[in-house]
């Protein structure tokens, strides 16, 4: 089966390491993918809040292109790794399905650029693809360096499983846990899987955002997690980069690695750290390498 890979804007910029690691994992697991042609911004939350109609057209355009691009395949599977893109695409599809009048307008707009929207494309999260299509068995077979002794707190963030996704439990998701367990890690049981990280408020209202990041990091630390894995560029950034500020404010000593789940999975699959974009992390993932390799010089 061939998948359409829809990167979205952040995976080409701040979340570049997410893209690199995801595609590296895909290659090792022989997942056949092709990047979406001439894709555009999903609209994210900002555009939705300003003009819903135009935002739906914008998001639907990506879906229509995907249908066109994979028209020879039995079904169109779009992989959207960014939580926001994933959620917006699902939201668009659901909204247009439930509102035929709006769908008509969107179709008309897309027709102007020669595109047709049917709403039949399947929007998939990489976690969904890896667990449901590839399976834990295949993945553990492919593992070369098991993540033995590494305590991992799997963190999903707010948009990966809520509100539209159907592949996992919305309150207590387990797919990332299952995936990393298949890669040999110890999974930390915690209640913070889907709590808000503070989102864009870290840049605007820090007194609201920092406590939100703090409880996540604090609980992970309390449960002896060495690393937090995320599936969203904003979560990754917030949890990784504000640890110093949080330490100062809450008088803690956090020092927890925060990486994308694909990076950790990639290490287990024996992919080189440069290929996984580890060197692009702002903070050195000290714990990971201490536990896995006993050396730190791999840092470029």
């Amino acid at each position: 089966m061939k998948y359409i890979y829809y990167p979205g804007c952040s995976l080409k910029s701040t979340g570049r390491l997410y893209e690199e690691s995801l595609l590296a994992v895909f290659r090792v697991l022989k997942i056949d993918y092709v990047e979406l042609n001439d894709w555009n911004c999903c609209g994210a939350t900002a555009y939705m809040a300003i003009d819903e109609n135009q935002a739906y057209v914008l998001a639907a355009r990506n879906l229509a292109i995907a249908e066109e691009q994979l028209k020879d395949e039995k079904e169109v599977n779009i992989v959207a790794p960014c939580s926001a893109c994933y959620m917006i695409l699902l939201k668009t599809q659901k909204f247009l399905k439930e509102n035929p009048a709006e769908q008509k307008k969107v179709k008309l707009a897309l027709k102007e650029s020669g595109l047709t929207y049917t709403g039949n494309a399947k929007i998939r999260h990489p976690l969904d693809v890896l667990v449901n299509d590839i399976g834990e068995k295949e993945i553990s077979k492919a593992v070369k360096n098991p993540l033995t002794n590494l305590n991992v707190a799997a963190y999903y963030g707010c948009q990966t499983v809520r509100p539209y996704s159907t592949f996992d439990d919305q309150r207590n998701p387990v797919f990332m846990d299952r995936l990393l367990k298949a890669a040999g890690a110890n999974i930390v049981d915690w209640s913070m899987k889907t709590r808000c990280c503070g989102s864009s408020l870290t840049g605007t209202i820090q007194e609201v955002a920092l406590p939100l990041s703090y409880v996540i990091l604090h609980e992970a630390k309390k449960r002896r997690a060495d690393v937090i894995t995320t599936a969203c560029s904003l979560c990754q950034f917030n949890l990784e980069c504000y640890q110093n500020d949080i330490d100062k404010k809450f008088k803690t000593d956090l020092k927890i690695d925060v990486v994308y789940f694909t990076q950790l999975l990639g290490l287990a699959l024996g992919i080189d750290h440069v290929e996984l974009g580890i060197q692009r992390l702002f903070a050195k993932p000290v714990n990971i390498f201490k536990i896995l390799k006993g050396d730190e010089h791999i840092y470029v």
């Binding site: 309150r171 207590n172 915690w190 209640s191 913070m192 406590p211 409880v215 604090h218 609980e219 309390k222």
Partner: protein
Amino acid sequence: MNIFMYNNNGTNIPNIGFYICHCGHNIAGMVDVTDVQKYAASLPGVTVSRDYKYMCSDPGQELIQKDIKEFGLNRIVVASCSPLLHEHTFRVATEKAGLNPYFFHMVNIRENVSWVTQDFKEATKKAKDLVRAAISRVFFHKPLIKKEVPINPDVLVLGGGIAGIHAALTIANAGKKVYLVEREATIGGHMAMFDKTFPTLDCAACILTPKMSAVKSHPNITLWTYSEVEKIEGFVGNYKATVLRKPRYVIEELCVGCMDCIDACIYKEAKYSDEFNLGLSMRKPIYIPFPQATPQVVLIDPETCIDFKSHRCKKTCIDICDREAIDLKQTAKYDEINVGTVILTTGFKTFDAKRAPQYGYGKFPNVFTSLELERMVNASGPTSGEVITRDGKKPAKVGIVHCVGSRDEKSNKWCSKVCCMYSLKLAHLIKEHTDAEVYNFYIDMRTPGKGYEEFYDKLMNEGVNFIRGRVAEITDWALVAEEENKLTIRVEDTLVGVVRRIPVDMVVLSVGLEPREDASDISRMFNISCSNEGFFLERHPKLAPVSTFTDGIFIAGACQGPKDIPESVAQAGAAAAEALSLICAGTIELEPNTASIIEEFCSGCKSCITLCPYTAILYNEDTKKACINEVLCKGCGTCVASCPSGSIIQNMFEDEQIYGEIEGLLKFAGIELADNKTEGKEIEHA
């Protein structure tokens, strides 16, 4: 087709009286009744055509009777509401005037026409079409005779909770025989698990156990516990039920409940989860559910008994029993009983709190369900009445979360009705047992009932905290030091307008009431319906609350919907009265809409026999033909449609009648009767 062929009742020509009902504005507001009345008058065979404000009223019925006598009418058609409501009324009126009631036919132009459209013109047109069909149909009606069969006075009550107990006792006290069948090893149901009852705080066991022993000792009650109904066949007045008596490996008639065997069991420690205490305590493989269990008989759980697993037990229980009541070779047996009526009192189950993962039940040890707490506060419960956390400490703060699995789009939408009141009761009992600070988190307090609001008032005066808001989540993570190692309840206090975080030691989830898992199986077995949520459906929500759409099957208690003890008892009494009224009538009339076989056409292929859902068709080996038992036939028509030689006919649904109706519906056949002329007809507008 010669339409005169089947006109019997002494005349060759159908002499039809047509009546259209205004039903106040219900019909007349959407259908031009005068127009329909005039139209009907123009149809062949119609002698009288009238419209009237309320046909079901006494004057309306008298109108029909007067016309029958005056004009010698031999067919009556009434266009009004659903036959479910008034077919019987009009049939009786027709019969009183000396006409066979099956010459009457009803057209539903209310539920099928006026109530379901906004289009006056179309409604009038559809009413005319339906009326034309009916008038065309009654040409072929035949006189039919109702059969009367006697009613078996015995009653089957299924489910031995408080509703079943009360229904059984009521009927038994009236001198009728009752079979009370209970699935568990003891009767008592959920009520036996409670400590106190709201709002009077009287002890549940003290008021229940006398009724339980009354059931056991009543000469008119046959109590079968640890039993289930496997099959039921027959019809009102004459049901035959097959009851599975599960083996308890103890002979019920011999055991006196001394419990020496329990002490003698080779397991010195009880180590299996005790079902009655919801796993809060342990039991041995040989056990009695609770001290006042009725019947007072032990049972053996073959899943845990070592002798069933390895056959290598010393069987100390058998040695100690001087009455030789223990029989490890006991097997399941089936008993067949004949009853006339059935009362279903199968009760409810509580919502599985794991389905609301945000509340952490099953994940955090100190999150309990309300039913678990009921057992905990009970003096004979697993902690002897102590309210303690899993590590044995008395809690300093307890949170009670209302509406878990009730009023929730994600699980159950309905209000479970009893939770507000039992949460108040538990709050009172927790305070009484522990002096803890108690918080009630509610969406709305619902305390309608005698003395209920006063009880709520009392609780507020006792210093219980009430916070209005649906709890968002219960977590074990800490934002501040006070929250470390506590369960934190996060809730929006909608009266103050802030989000609050309240750390507590123990959480009680007030779980809602749900239909039992196998409610749909039971409903299928007894041929009754379930409402959307899965509770048994009553015949009418207001006027027939304990009857079902199957005659002779009644429902009572929480199997019909969430309700508290007083309501369950009231319904049980009502169901018992309904059953008794059938029994006292002695006989029951059967609808004559049964099928019969034209023997000369039957080839004896037997294809109808397997299809009949009521096993009403038998094969006569002598004549090599099928024959139908009219008493068992329900008139479903399956055999009629399936017969390859067309040799089965069904009363009231004969081919001519159905063709006549279809023809009339599509376009009147266009056959003019000799004396059918519009002039000189009695056309009257009331």
